[in-house]
C-alpha cells in the first residue's frame, strides 16, 4: 500500500469514527479490510483507497466508506465486563438515582458503545432483579453503536457458547437464556427493555435525550485526545447534574475533560461537574482543567 493510500484510509477512519491509526497498523488494515475488498470487488488497498469519497466529521456515510469504518471497529464485549462497574451501578448509583427522583420520573440508562449488546443486557438483568427497589418505575435502556452489524447481533440476542461463558454466572444463564441449537437466545423480557439504535459518538448526541447513567466503556481508547474530550463533553450535555458515567478500565477523564470528576475510591466511576455559568464562561476547558489540576 502506498503512503498516500494509507493516509486517505486513516483520514476516513478519523473523520468517520474517531479511530486513530498509525502506519504501524498497516497489517490491521490488510486483515480487517479483506472482506470489504471482496464485497466491493477491489483487489488491493490502493484500489480501495482510490475509491473513497471524503466524509464529513461524525457522519454515517453508508456505502464503501461505512463498510470500511465498521470493519475497523473492535466489537469485543462480554457480560458484566469487569464486574465492578455493574456492582457499583446496582448497589450505589441505582438506589441513589431512585431516591433523588420523583416516583413518576422515568430512569434512562445509555450503553454508548453497545456493540453486540452484552453491556445493555447485563444492565437489563440488574434492573429486572431490582424490581422491588424500582417499585413499578419505568426504566429505559438505550444501546447505541456505530456498527450496524454489531447492533444487528445485539437486537437478535443470540450468543455463542463461548460468549455466554464470559462473565455470566450460571444462574443468570439458566434464568435469562434458552438454548437454540448450539447457541443461546436471550429472554424476550430482557430484549424488550433495551432499544438499540445506530449512532456515531462523534455526531450530535442530542437525539439520545437525557440519561441518568451512561456506560461508555472501552471505546474512548480508540480515539485521540481531542476526540475523547469532544465526545465526553457531548455526553456530559446529555446527563443531569447527578448523572453517573462509567468508563472502561483503561480510560479516564483526567486531563481530558472538566465535565466529570472521578468518584473517590471507585475506579471507572465518574460524576458530572457543573461549573457555575460565570466560571464556565471565563474558563476555556483547557484552562479550567489546568486550574483544577494545578
Amino acid at each position: 500500500m502506498t503512503p498516500r493510500s494509507f493516509t486517505s484510509i486513516a483520514a476516513l477512519l478519523m473523520a468517520g469514527s474517531g479511530l486513530s491509526i498509525g502506519p504501524d497498523k498497516t497489517y490491521l488494515l490488510e486483515n480487517r479490510l479483506a472482506p470489504v475488498m471482496r464485497k466491493h470487488h477491489l483487489d488491493s488497498l490502493d484500489a480501495l483507497a482510490a475509491k473513497l469519497r471524503p466524509v464529513s466529521f461524525g457522519s454515517m456515510p453508508g456505502g464503501l466508506e461505512q463498510d470500511v469504518i465498521e470493519a475497523m471497529t473492535t466489537n469485543e464485549s462480554f457480560f458484566f465486563r469487569d464486574d465492578k462497574p455493574f456492582t457499583h451501578f446496582r448497589t450505589r448509583a441505582l438506589p441513589q438515582l431512585l431516591a433523588d427522583r420523583p416516583a413518576h420520573a422515568k430512569l434512562r440508562i445509555w450503553s454508548a458503545a453497545a456493540s453486540t449488546g452484552q453491556e445493555a443486557y447485563s444492565l437489563a438483568m440488574i434492573l429486572q432483579e431490582s424490581a422491588a427497589m424500582l417499585a413499578g418505575r419505568s426504566v429505559e435502556i438505550i444501546g447505541t453503536d456505530i456498527s450496524r452489524e454489531a447492533l444487528g447481533r445485539a437486537r437478535e440476542g443470540l450468543y455463542t457458547q463461548f460468549e455466554v461463558q464470559r462473565g455470566l454466572p450460571m444462574q443468570s444463564l439458566v434464568k435469562y437464556f434458552r438454548k437454540e441449537g448450539s447457541q443461546w437466545r436471550i429472554a424476550d423480557s430482557l430484549r424488550q427493555m433495551v432499544q438499540f439504535r445506530s449512532l456515531n459518538l462523534l455526531a450530535d448526541l442530542r437525539s439520545v435525550g437525557q440519561c441518568d447513567a451512561v456506560f461508555c466503556r472501552n471505546v474512548l481508547i480508540y480515539f485521540d485526545q481531542p476526540t475523547k474530550s469532544r465526545v465526553l463533553a457531548a455526553i456530559a450535555r446529555q446527563m443531569p447534574s447527578d448523572g453517573v458515567l462509567y468508563l472502561g478500565g483503561a480510560e479516564t477523564v483526567l486531563g481530558i475533560t472538566d465535565a466529570f470528576t472521578a468518584q473517590a475510591h471507585e475506579r471507572g466511576v465518574y460524576e458530572r461537574v457543573i461549573l457555575p455559568p460565570a466560571q464556565a464562561a471565563l474558563c476555556p476547558p483547557s484552562f479550567a482543567g489546568a486550574a483544577a489540576r494545578g
Binding site: Q161, F162, Q165, R166, G167, P169, M170, Q171, L173, V174
Partner: protein, 125 residues
C-alpha cells in the same frame, strides 16, 4: 490475586483434559491434584479437602453429579466450591448442578480465559 497455597482437585477421566486444566491452574499458583472418577475424587477429599474442585460429569465408576451429592452430604453444603466442566450443555444439566450445590458450570470445550474467568467469578482468583 493468586494465593500459592490454594489447591484444586481436577476430576476427569480424560488425561488430556486433566493436563490442560493443570497447566492453566498452575500458572495461577494452584497446587493441582488429579482424580480419574468420582470415587477416586471422594477418597482424595476424605484424605485432604481441596480448596476447589473442577469436575467432569460423565465418568466411569462414579459420575460427577453422584460425586457432588456424596461430597455435599458427607461434608455439608458450600465448601469447597465445585465447578462442573463438561460437554453436557443443556439447561437441565446446569439446573441439576445448581440444585446439588455446584458453584459454576463450564461447558467444554473451554480455554484459559473461560476457566480462569469462572474461577475468578466464584472468588478463587
Amino acid at each position: 490475586m493468586s494465593d500459592s497455597t490454594k489447591t484444586c482437585l481436577v476430576v476427569d477421566d480424560s488425561r488430556v483434559v486433566r493436563k490442560v486444566a493443570r497447566r492453566i491452574l498452575e500458572t495461577q499458583g494452584f497446587i493441582v491434584r488429579e482424580a480419574e472418577d468420582g470415587q477416586q475424587a471422594l477418597l482424595a477429599c476424605r484424605a485432604a479437602m481441596p480448596d476447589s474442585v473442577l469436575l467432569d460429569w460423565n465418568m466411569p465408576v462414579m459420575n460427577g453429579l453422584d460425586f457432588l451429592k456424596a461430597l455435599r452430604s458427607e461434608f455439608g453444603p458450600g465448601q469447597p466450591p465445585v465447578m462442573f466442566c463438561t460437554t453436557e450443555n443443556d439447561i437441565s444439566f446446569i439446573e441439576q448442578a445448581i440444585e446439588n450445590g455446584a458453584q459454576e458450570f463450564i461447558m467444554k470445550p473451554f480455554d484459559e480465559e473461560i476457566l480462569l474467568g469462572k474461577f475468578s467469578q466464584v472468588g478463587l482468583l
